[in-house]
């Protein structure tokens, strides 16, 4: 479903992704781990289409289409969703307003009907309840003054509303307390489906106890240094990334 081949990307003239290959078949959840600065967030931004990330080589195919040729909003319409490591604040814009604008924009682009107000409210209420998000919070300006955990839960709420085909979660677990982690994980698991694939970026095995991945990849210096099953995450938890640092330097 998602096929990344020999991806090279630069930021500020510096090469961060350096020949990355990754394939996620439909219905699978892949985890990406790797040391700080190895390029995990960069990969997520490149997939979502952030401006300052220049792809210098390689290709990304999503459902048979050239993802890199699309604008960020087109990618959203095509089903790409990135739960940000650091969600943005937008002062003055009620979260609810933002959600509605986003959902309707995406639905419209997909040729679906826009939600009516009552339908939309009902849908949000339902999903917010599952994620234990207080409706009162959704009346506040987007992410402004939200706690770290609230921001992350809000990302998952957006994800479930936008019904993406490719879910990229960038360290969604960081900043979550134990209960919130379970809630978020349940939210993510609820979205697992044969038509959907997921890329879960995390530093901790803990999250992967809840969201059990089909594959685990270790990213180092801008490429996949090793891939394996869920047991790879456990191994990393014990031994750390020391080996990969060396290997990548040698490469």
């Amino acid at each position: 479903m998602l096929e990344i081949k020999n991806l090279h990307a630069k930021v500020d003239g510096r090469e961060i992704l350096n020949g990355l290959d990754l394939t996620i078949p439909a219905g699978e959840v892949h985890a990406i781990m790797g040391p700080n600065g190895s390029g995990k967030s960069t990969l997520s931004y490149v997939l979502a289409g952030k401006d300052d990330y220049e792809v210098t080589d390689g290709s990304v195919t999503w459902k048979g289409e050239d993802l890199l040729a699309m604008e960020p909003d087109e990618r959203a319409a095509a089903g790409v969703f990135l739960a940000f490591q650091y969600p943005m604040e937008i002062p003055g814009v009620a979260t609810m307003t933002f959600l509605r604008s986003a959902v309707n924009a995406v639905r419209k682009a997909r040729g679906e009907e826009e939600y009516s107000t009552p339908d939309f409210l009902r849908t949000v209420k339902e999903k917010a309840k599952d994620l234990k998000i207080d409706m009162e919070m959704l009346r506040r300006p987007l992410n402004v003054g939200f706690s770290g955990g609230e921001k992350k839960r809000n990302e998952i709420l957006q994800m479930s509303l936008l019904e993406p085909g490719l879910c990229i979660l960038d360290e969604t677990d960081s900043g979550l307390d134990i209960d919130a982690l379970r809630i978020v994980a349940d939210g993510v698991n609820a979205l697992r489906s044969p038509e959907r694939c997921m890329l879960v970026i995390t530093h901790y095995q803990r999250l992967l106890n809840h969201i059990v991945p089909d594959r685990v990849h270790v990213l180092s210096k801008g490429r996949v240094a090793r891939s394996g099953g869920p047991e790879l995450a456990l191994e990393l938890e014990k031994s750390g990334y020391a080996d990969y640092g060396d290997e990548a330097t040698a490469a």
Binding site: G49, P72, A76, I90, P91, V93, M96, A109
Partner: protein, 490 residues
């Protein structure tokens, strides 16, 4: 909140052609010859059948104006205006005061239709049953041609008519208050207006009356090369309340148009006037050519104790805006408010702000200004807050926020503060920010287009001020914010 909620929806509804409001109607104009002289002033006054005192008043202003210089202190640049090359009087053909809408020039009605006025004003104009009671005194070109709901207002004792009519029907009120807030000597443009003012609205709300509906006027510049000189006078007698809305759109054209209106507000004891403007005149083409010059003098006089005047403005149009709605806080315990959204894009230049003149004891004022600059535009907030020697316990809070879109525009804040009484408390806050690429990307990654994203972020930025607008204006305003920022990114 519902205001912002609809934004994106509204923006989407808008036609792709930006200036669907840019068109001319060809109602034949009756014009005075070009240029300004005593004879023209006499001609205007005679055309309107004015009494002697008003003609004298105009002539005094005219003579005064001849001795005055155009002000140059504002941060705006434009080619010198040749005041001898303008028409000072133009009236649509049908000026005989239609008794009902059937008698209104159909061309005029079609114009309103084309304006796509979302305020249900169209229904009001068309006399649709159950339409909201927003009274419309439509100034088409220079002469008021449609006035509705007069009867219902009359029941409440509210006088709402064109100023020319008021001169005839309520001369004592006009004589007493005209020029009492903005004297004929006030400034170059106000003096010019006093000499040649064409028409405008007159409102009088008697003692203790709460005006039963929002009063609304649509201004529209139509005949080419015609300076517009509206004159508006609103008086709220003791304990009265009135909310007045002014909105305007303009035809697209290739010539600069001068607009120099004067608005005077008088609030007596315990009275309150709320004056809201949404201004979206033609800002000029992509090169900045051809937009309206808007040089307006708006001033409110809180003449009575505990009176209150509140200005809310949304400025999105015009090539040049030079506008400082002000409050003279004369009555003890009186209060002035100024809420402003000023958006500039393309090559627009905005120099706008307010003056809060604290004269009485325990007077307070509040200024919230939101300037948004995009494209190559220049956006200046210029504000004066002053406390007189006798203004014990004067209080002001000012907050000026500027938002920049792109890096070729400019935002400036020029606050002047004068406190001659040591008990005055003036607070001033100012911020300048940019729409960050990260914010934009966040919105885009959620499926919003760039224009939707900008409209959403900007509507968030101006939220505090939007909430001050009467409901009738919110939807239009949000649309305008979207329209006026089209093409500002990417």
């Amino acid at each position: 909140m519902p205001a912002v909620e609809q934004t994106v929806e509204r923006v989407k509804e808008i036609d792709v052609d930006k200036y669907k409001y840019g068109f001319s109607t060809d109602i034949e104009s009756v014009r005075a010859p070009k240029g300004l002289s005593e004879d023209i002033v006499r001609f205007i006054s005679a055309k309107k059948g004015e009494p002697e005192w008003l003609l004298d008043w105009r002539l005094e202003a005219y003579r005064r104006w001849r001795t005055m210089q155009e002000p140059t202190w504002a941060k705006v640049h434009y080619p010198k205006i040749d005041f001898e090359d303008l028409y000072y009087y133009a009236a649509p053909k049908s000026t005989e005061g239609p008794k009902s809408l059937d008698e209104v020039d159909p061309e005029l009605l079609r114009t309103y239709e084309k304006l796509g006025i979302p305020l249900k004003e169209q229904e009001v104009l068309a006399g649709v049953q159950g339409a909201p009671k927003v009274a419309v005194d439509a100034v088409f070109d220079s002469v008021s041609v449609v006035t509705t709901f007069k009867e219902e207002l009359a029941k409440a004792g509210v006088i709402f008519c064109s100023i020319s009519e008021a001169v005839k029907t309520h001369p004592e009120l006009v004589k007493k208050y005209l020029g009492s807030v903005v004297p004929i000597t006030d400034n170059f443009y106000a003096t010019l207006n006093s000499a040649v003012f064409s028409d405008g609205s007159f409102v009088y709300v008697p003692e203790g009356v709460r005006c039963p509906m929002e009063l609304s006027t649509y201004f529209r510049i139509n005949a080419e090369n015609t300076g517009q000189f509206e004159r508006t006078l609103i008086i709220a007698d003791k304990g009265a309340y009135v909310s007045y809305l002014e909105g305007c759109t303009a035809p697209m054209r290739d010539e600069n148009q001068l607009h120099a209106a004067v608005v005077e507000l008088v609030a007596l004891e315990d009275a309150e006037i709320k004056y809201s403007t949404v201004q979206n005149w033609y800002p000029g083409d992509a090169e900045g050519k051809g937009g309206v010059y808007n040089f307006v003098t708006k001033r409110g006089d809180c003449r009575g104790d505990r009176s209150k005047i509140s200005w809310t403005q949304v400025e999105t149009g015009s090539a040049i805006t030079w506008k400082y709605p002000s409050c003279i806080l004369r009555g003890h315990g009186s209060r002035g408010e100024f809420y402003s959204i000023a958006i500039s894009n393309g090559y627009q230049q905005v120099d706008s702000g307010t003056k809060m003149i604290h004269l009485g004891r325990d007077t307070s004022s509040r200024i919230i200004s939101k300037g948004i600059a995009a494209g190559f535009s220049d956006n200046t907030y210029r504000g004066l807050v002053s406390a007189h020697r006798k203004a014990t316990n004067a209080r002001n809070f000012t907050c000026c926020d500027s938002l920049l879109i792109g890096d070729r525009c400019g935002a400036h804040t020029v606050p002047y503060i004068e406190a001659k009484n040591s008990s005055a408390t003036f607070e001033h806050e100012a911020t300048t920010s940019k729409i960050s690429d990260d914010q934009l990307f966040y919105c885009l990654s959620r499926g919003l287009s760039e224009e939707e994203a900008v409209a959403l972020i900007v509507n968030g930025f101006v939220r505090d001020v939007l909430q001050q607008l009467p409901m009738e204006f919110m939807a239009e305003t949000q649309k305008l914010i979207g329209i006026s920022l089209e093409g500002s990114v990417g």
